[in-house]
């Protein structure tokens, strides 16, 4: 398995409450779909803005990719709650979202692509996670791979090739909780990954030898 994650933690959410989530402008809302609202930071973690309401934000400080990854801790306490992570999203505020998205819902980690708002699920991994475990998505070239960290150990899911969405974009999240308002996500990270076929040269050349 390739090491994951290879990119830094961007926000541990350990600060005063924010509604809407901002971190000094690093976050903007909302992520996709017109019904999404900005999420809120409560007690050092991410909550939806209201029960049964999709709440999402994108990391507005920079775009990443094309090869990139995104990850976060799952803090759900109900199987009916949902956490989405997004990458390669060129226009995060669009109502017809384009990008790749990772979803954790009801014991399944799945990857979908969204092209101009039309979603296609491209893999499914059955895994039950607990609060404090993590999920992540890596997109390298045309290969999308889901990851999860259970009991402190990262594992990879089912890689699959998809060529629909290329180019750089924003990374983002969305959360949804049923019934009552509760913590859904913590410790968000991600960024640009080094292309698989790139390399670096370590050492010195003596040009006179050539």
């Amino acid at each position: 398995m390739s090491p994951f994650p290879t990119t830094p933690l961007l926000d541990d959410f350990n600060r005063a409450n924010e509604n809407p989530l901002s971190d000094g402008g690093n976050w903007s809302g909302s992520t996709g779909f017109s019904s999404f609202s900005s999420a809120q930071l409560v007690s050092n973690a991410i909550n939806p803005v209201a029960p049964s309401t999709y709440s999402g934000n994108y990391w507005a400080a920079s775009q990443f990719g094309p090869d990139c990854e995104v990850f976060a801790d799952v803090e759900q306490s109900s199987a009916s709650d949902t956490l989405y992570l997004y990458c390669r999203v060129p226009v995060p505020t669009s109502n017809t979202l384009t990008g790749y998205l990772l979803r954790y819902f009801n014991g399944v980690v799945s990857v979908s692509k969204s092209v101009l708002g039309a979603q296609t699920q491209i893999n499914s991994n059955t895994i039950t996670l607990a609060a404090g475990d993590s999920i992540g998505l890596s997109v390298r070239g045309s290969i999308e791979t889901a990851y999860w960290r259970k009991s402190g150990v990262w594992s990879s899911g089912t890689p699959v090739s998809d060529s629909a969405v290329t180019g750089s974009g924003y990374i983002a999240f969305a959360v949804w909780s049923s019934g009552s308002l509760r913590v859904e996500m913590d410790n968000f990270g991600g960024g640009t990954t080094i292309p698989k076929d790139s390399f670096s040269i370590v050492g010195e050349f003596d040009l006179a030898a050539f």
């Binding site: 092209v115 979603q119 699920q121 491209i122 899911g157 090739s161 629909a164 290329t166």
Partner: protein, 189 residues
């Protein structure tokens, strides 16, 4: 358990609550790990999962044998050609000289190219009278532009294609130019 490949129709409308997905995602594939590759916005998918007898028994599912390195027999050529051609997947090039791995690789390449077109905004093409025999010049300007842009974005050579080229000829000319690994679960084809 070994990973096996299946070709099947798609279900779902594409909304967040009803995503396009393998037709049997909620039944035969429920609780299973799987990976799927769609034919762009055409309603077909190549699916990789552990060998699944219920899936293999579905009338509209084509099962690829576990041994991908065996050649297709004459009977299998007919079966595969009939299945694909009925679903607008060119198959007249398939013969007993191909292994299943080569067959799946080329079909997957077609799907990847159509995904590139999908990403550029091409809606389902094979509908409203468009077939594999439709010529390039018969398509709308928007469709032609997307097809050309998609081919060029993949650095494909389109010099052999003209307005009189059929969709069958175009897809076959492009599929052999697709490079790089194609990954589905633990299979690299």
């Amino acid at each position: 358990m070994a990973t096996q490949l299946y070709v099947m129709p798609i279900t779902g409308t594409g909304t967040s609550g009803d995503a396009r997905r393998p037709k049997y995602a909620d039944t035969d594939l429920a609780g299973q790990n799987w990976a799927a590759m769609d034919f762009g916005n055409e309603p077909m998918m190549l699916v990789a999962t552990a060998t699944n007898a219920a899936l293999g028994a579905e009338a509209d599912v084509l099962t690829v044998p576990l041994n991908l390195d065996q050649n297709l027999g004459a009977g299998a050529v007919t079966t595969v050609q009939n299945y694909f051609e009925a679903r607008n997947i060119p198959a007249d090039w398939i013969n007993t000289g191909y292994t299943y791995r080569q067959l799946v690789r080329l079909v997957a390449c077609m799907f990847q190219i159509w995904q590139r077109c999908q990403g550029m905004g091409l809606a389902q093409l094979f509908t409203g009278g468009v077939t594999l025999s439709t010529t390039f010049s018969s398509l709308t300007l928007g469709q032609r532009t997307i097809l050309l842009n998609a081919a060029h974005s993949l650095n494909f050579d389109t010099s052999s294609l003209t307005g009189a080229s059929t969709m069958r000829q175009i897809i076959k000319a492009l599929m052999v130019q697709f490079g790089g690994p194609i990954q589905m679960l633990d299979l690299t084809i």
